[in-house]
């Protein structure tokens, strides 16, 4: 039972992180290397809010404020990234890639300057433990599961049931066709990057209290997210959800049964295998 809960909880970690990246990658076909740092900044913003506000308004409210501010800050960063990098460098994917890589280092350095290189920890807004059939689930993990579920259903509804969401999907599938319908593809790109980055921020806010936060936390998270979106199928947000679940279960079982040290290896191997057998990913559609 504990294993089932662990699978669920790990899946939600992966999902939370891969979602924004899958969206941005899927719609704009650009790799935002700073996505991991957006996540990290979301965590630091939350840390700052919790540290300064918790004494006055209490842990949970301070965390909530933190999550909202985190989404706003990272969303803004997404908008800046769009204006400053994606638009001027349109049609130069390599240049965009390098620029976002550079941005990731800049953000890392800024955070090191403000908060120092040493990892910090956000004191958990919810402390209790929920027990389910003899197994336990810490409340702070329940929070991540709820956040991941809310983000993915929210995103699903937004993309599938609203007009701006429909435009996002249109641009993802055929930017030129979208332009001809009178869709302002620039605005859609901007919106996508804002949403994707905002999700990274919220994810940082919810993951922050259950993991150590450090200026360097973005890198490993980004790597796993890449593996997930590649296995899930590039550009397919729902494929990313499925792949997050696959890795959530697989990684949990591996650490449970003594394979913990091979996790990085197996993930990379699975990715390479999928790339060679079905380059469009398990759930990807052919271009």
């Amino acid at each position: 039972m504990q294993i089932v809960l662990n699978c669920l909880s790990l899946t939600s970690f992966y999902l939370c992180f891969a979602l924004g990246l899958a969206l941005v990658f899927g719609v704009m076909r650009i790799i935002n290397f700073a996505h991991g740092e957006f996540f990290m900044i979301g965590a630091y913003v939350t840390y700052f809010c919790v540290a300064t506000l918790a004494p006055q308004i209490g842990g949970p409210s301070a965390w909530l404020v933190g999550a909202i501010v985190a989404a706003a800050v990272t969303g803004l960063l997404g908008a800046v990234l769009y204006r400053a990098v994606v638009v001027p460098l349109a049609d130069k994917p390599l240049a965009i890639f390098i620029s976002t890589l550079a941005l990731s280092y800049v953000l890392q350095t800024i955070v090191v300057q403000i908060f120092g290189p040493v990892g910090l920890s956000i004191s958990p807004p919810l402390r209790g433990v929920v027990s389910v059939g003899g197994a336990i689930l810490p409340a702070s993990r329940v929070m991540v599961i709820v956040a991941a579920a809310a983000l993915s259903t929210g995103l699903w509804i937004y993309l599938m049931r609203t007009e701006p969401g429909r435009r996002i999907r249109a641009v993802a599938q055929n930017p030129r066709g979208a332009l001809l319908q009178g869709i302002k593809t620039r605005n859609v790109g901007n919106l996508t990057l804002i949403i994707g980055s905002g999700i990274a921020g919220i994810c940082g806010a919810s993951m922050g209290p259950i993991s150590q936060i450090s200026p360097y936390m973005g890198g490993p998270a980004l790597w796993k997210a890449f593996i997930i979106i590649i296995v899930g199928g590039i550009g397919n947000v729902w494929g990313a959800v499925a792949a997050a679940a696959i890795f959530g279960v697989l990684d949990t079982l591996m650490s449970q049964f003594g394979g913990g040290r091979f996790l990085a290896l197996t993930s990379a191997a699975i990715m390479l295998f999928v790339l060679s057998v079905k380059p469009s990913g398990l759930f990807g559609e052919k271009e």
Binding site: R166, R169, A170, Q173, N174, R176, G177, L180
Partner: protein, 234 residues
């Protein structure tokens, strides 16, 4: 009326349109004839704002539209059914149509336009929740027309709409479009490989050769020109 005057378009310094001028009446069908590489697609894309001319002017009902963003041009009433259709293959037929109405947000207008398009192409109504990519070539072309009409254009640009279609289907589609344009007072600017067909349905026509207008006039005149017959209708 759409008027183009002395437009010049270059791809990396190479001229594709060389001081091209023409005009097309709203309410008429105007055919554009020309061999491969003459610059027809370039002309269509330039009118839509996908490509900016180096010099020259394009006016719609007297107002300059060159230099405007594509979405503004759609809003002003020009809609293109592009070469290769450019549908959204993994969106449903209905979603494709609704995206065509991006610049016409009023729900009531959308409903009536949609009803008219379903009337024109009943098969689209039957398939409305199917993915666009799963339609047959002819159905996809109908969808491309329907999507373009959803923006309530004054002028519809068609770039080789019949490519890859059986001659029967081709003829049906073109006559459907013509009837629709007559009913609604829409102008059509059509580029066709099958010049004979286009000239049959058009009131006006012009011939593009190497980025210039070589000949223009009533469709019947163009159709009877010996050079045209030799090059395009033979």
């Amino acid at each position: 009326m759409l008027e183009a005057q002395d437009i010049v378009v270059e791809y990396g310094g190479v001229r594709a349109l060389d001081q091209l001028s023409f005009s097309a009446q709203i309410g008429d069908v105007t055919a554009v004839v020309g061999s491969n590489g003459a610059g027809k697609t370039t002309l269509m894309n330039t009118i839509c704002g996908l490509i900016q001319p180096v010099s020259g002017e394009i006016r719609l009902d007297g107002e300059r539209i060159d230099g405007l963003a594509p979405d503004e041009i759609v809003r002003r009433g020009i809609s293109l059914v592009p070469e290769g259709r450019e549908l959204f293959p993994r969106l449903s037929v209905l979603e494709n149509l609704l995206l065509g109405a991006t610049v016409r947000p009023d729900p009531a207008t959308r409903r009536t336009t949609l009803a008219r398009i379903y009337e024109l192409f009943p098969v689209l109504a039957d398939r409305q929740s199917q993915k666009a990519g799963q339609l047959s070539g002819g159905e996809q072309q109908m969808l491309a027309f329907g999507r373009a009409l959803m923006s309530l254009p004054k002028l519809l640009l068609l770039d080789e709409p019949s490519i890859g279609l059986a001659p029967m289907v081709e003829e049906q589609l073109i006559s459907a479009i013509r009837d629709y344009s007559l009913e609604n007072g829409i102008g059509v600017l059509i580029v066709e490989q099958n010049a004979m067909l286009a000239l049959e349905y058009a009131q006006h026509a012009f011939v593009v050769e190497q980025g210039r207008v070589a000949l223009s006039g009533p469709a019947a005149t163009v159709r009877d020109d010996p050079a045209v017959i030799a090059s395009y209708l033979g």
